[in-house]
Amino acid sequence: MAPIYLDNNATTACDPAVVAAMLPFFTEQFGNPSSMHSFGNKVGFAIKEARAKVQALLGAEHDSEIIFTSCGTESDSTAILSALKAQPERNQIITTAVEHPAVLTLCDYLEKEGYVVTRLGVDKRGRLDMDEYRAALGPRTAIVSAMWANNESGTIFPVEAMAEMAHAAGAQFHTDAVQAVGKLPIDLKKTKIDLLSLSGHKLHAPKGVGVLYLRRGARFRPLLRGGHQERGRRAGTENAASIVGLGVAAEQAMTHMAFENTEVKRLRDRLEAGILAQVPRAFPTGDVTNRLPNTSNIAFEFVEGEAILLLLNKAGIAASSGSACTSGSLEPSHVMRAMGIPYTAAHGTTRFSLSRYNTEAEMNRVIAAVPPVIAQLRKISPYWGDKGPAENPEADFAPQYA
């Protein structure tokens, strides 16, 4: 039986149309778009076309607001560092406790360099407190960086409203929309968002290409200086084939946007309900009424995530987990901890993230496969008795060191 891929928030398969569009740029049109000869004369045009397609997907007003980069991480770094460099009189960054490491690790580093970093907390459902946010904004705020949608729980932040508030305080607003682009309708010209990051490989384009949207008029300082590529805002010879691929992927995402929010969402809901109906002591995490249509993150209590993934993998199912062990760190996912999910559940969080390529038959297989996997691991868990969880699990099994 073919394996089932439910890890689309980690990365996606390239759309075959994307691959087909890219191939000529490896073999025939391999020239440098800056050159005068015929080996690259179509490249410049192809990049322009791709830029227009990304512009359409984002609802950007001008095509020159689209800057191609090497990945989502580069876009995030460029945005935050630019805001600090361009506004030396402002030294505060406001972000959230649940951002991707692409933002959080950079902020940790900048904090050591002397910048002031405010990390907004979230509630049990992963939601921000807008009053806390309002109070944090001030005359020294250089940039607010808040993700559009969370990669682990799928929870959506009200970034449009947050951008308005940032502007009122004279600060720039950046959103890491790596998970949102292609899954949620976006119309940037109607918002006050100054900077937005996206990554090709999350929307069926290849890995290693991304975009930084930069609103016309927003003050900017490049991360990479050198040649005149991207109007001098991101030097380095263009990754032409991947940019072309990203253009096609953006076009496909527009075409499938409705499908994503109806059919993919239906499959996700079916999967989640099917699992929760059979597995006791399991609950969905995040803001289930306001999340990405493709994401379901379920906490299975008293079992550990890596063990779940290994058994699922054996059953031909690919998912991911917020457990510490999968990443080799000592603590479970910072997103789950920020939501106050107890350790007994945080280590067992399992994320199923779908794409338009998943089918109903696949959901049925996963719904059948998950319950025995959880039961098998609970059987050997010291936190689980014959009939269910130990009366008071954390007291009943209290190891001698912590």
Binding site: E304, E306, A324, G328, S329, L330, E331, H347, I380, E394
Partner: protein, 296 residues
């Protein structure tokens, strides 16, 4: 995905001796729900011969935690308690054809559960004394807590010194930023401490040692031997031992035996012995396990 050996996978997918044991007379609970690892080891010990008649486990943890638990029960069944106590975490890892460096702590947890269960059988109190930090050096599996302790105890100020004392950073060098951060953190404590003014900056070689006279190669060898001999009784008390295999310039290769063997403990032991040697010889030497002789 982790690079698990076939044996690890086999013991994860088909764990031996999993589940509660009927009326065990030795139980060891170790681990931490915070880190996502917890293990209960249950033993049935024959009071006459002190032989482990049966062993079983319950584990909350990842693939390698479950595999290590399963391996542990297989290894110790049929052994006497004294024999079982000689099983090191490295033995557990070796029995599984190795574990990734990030996962060595699973085998450490296995060994601790064993010590705890035997202490429980004997009516003793088992106390764990090691705290585990974030893994810094992946080449030698050395964590932040250990590095910080050694930096503090020896007033270390450079990455090179840390590598000499702990081996951390002596491999691929990608953890040097992490080590520098630990050095900066400890240095900052010193700055604010009232004793800061009186604290001399450490010389490249520990001060006492720097004054030592130059030795001939014969004297040097004798000195190394004497130093090691003086340490052996201490290790033997902990059911361990050490022997010199080769002295090659500033690299001294040794075999650690018995309870000394094993990732975290081994690094700590080597490190302590190395510090003593550096002091005795008045020069920097590196103490390495004999297994690294070919690589060096």
């Amino acid at each position: 995905m982790w690079d698990y050996s076939e044996k690890v996978k086999e013991h994860f997918f088909n764990p031996r001796n999993a589940g509660a044991l009927d009326s065990p007379n030795g139980v060891g609970d170790v681990g931490s729900i915070k880190c996502g690892d917890a293990l209960r080891l249950m033993l049935k010990v024959d009071p006459e011969s002190e032989t482990i008649l049966d062993a079983s486990f319950q584990t909350f943890g990842c693939g390698s935690a479950i595999a290590s638990s399963s391996a542990l029960t297989e290894i110790i069944k049929g052994k006497t308690l004294d024999e079982a106590l000689k099983v090191s975490n490295q033995d557990i890892a070796d029995w599984l054809d190795g574990l990734p460096p990030e996962k060595m702590h699973c085998s450490v947890m296995g060994r601790e559960a064993l010590q705890a269960a035997i202490a429980n059988y004997r009516g003793e109190e088992w106390k764990d004394d090691h705290e585990e930090g974030a893994l810094i050096c992946k080449c030698f599996a050395i964590d932040a807590v250990l590095i910080e302790d050694v930096v503090r105890a020896n007033d270390l100020t450079s990455v090179e010194q840390v590598a000499n004392y702990t081996k951390a950073g002596g491999g691929c060098a990608s953890c040097h930023e992490g080590i520098e951060e630990i050095l900066a953190k400890v240095a900052k404590e010193h700055c604010t401490a009232p004793t800061a003014a009186t604290r001399a900056t450490p010389a490249a070689v520990p001060a006492a040692a720097a004054a030592a006279p130059r030795l001939t190669s014969f004297q040097r060898m004798r000195k190394i031997e004497e130093t090691i001999e003086a340490i052996r009784p201490m290790l033997q008390r902990d059911h361990g031992d050490i022997e010199i295999v080769e002295i090659d310039g500033k690299n001294i290769y040794v075999n650690l035996k018995g309870a000394c063997v094993g990732c975290m403990m081994e690094a700590a032991t080597l490190n302590g012995v190395q510090t003593k040697l550096v002091e005795a010889l008045g020069e920097f030497v590196r103490l390495l396990p004999a297994s690294q002789m070919a690589k060096a």
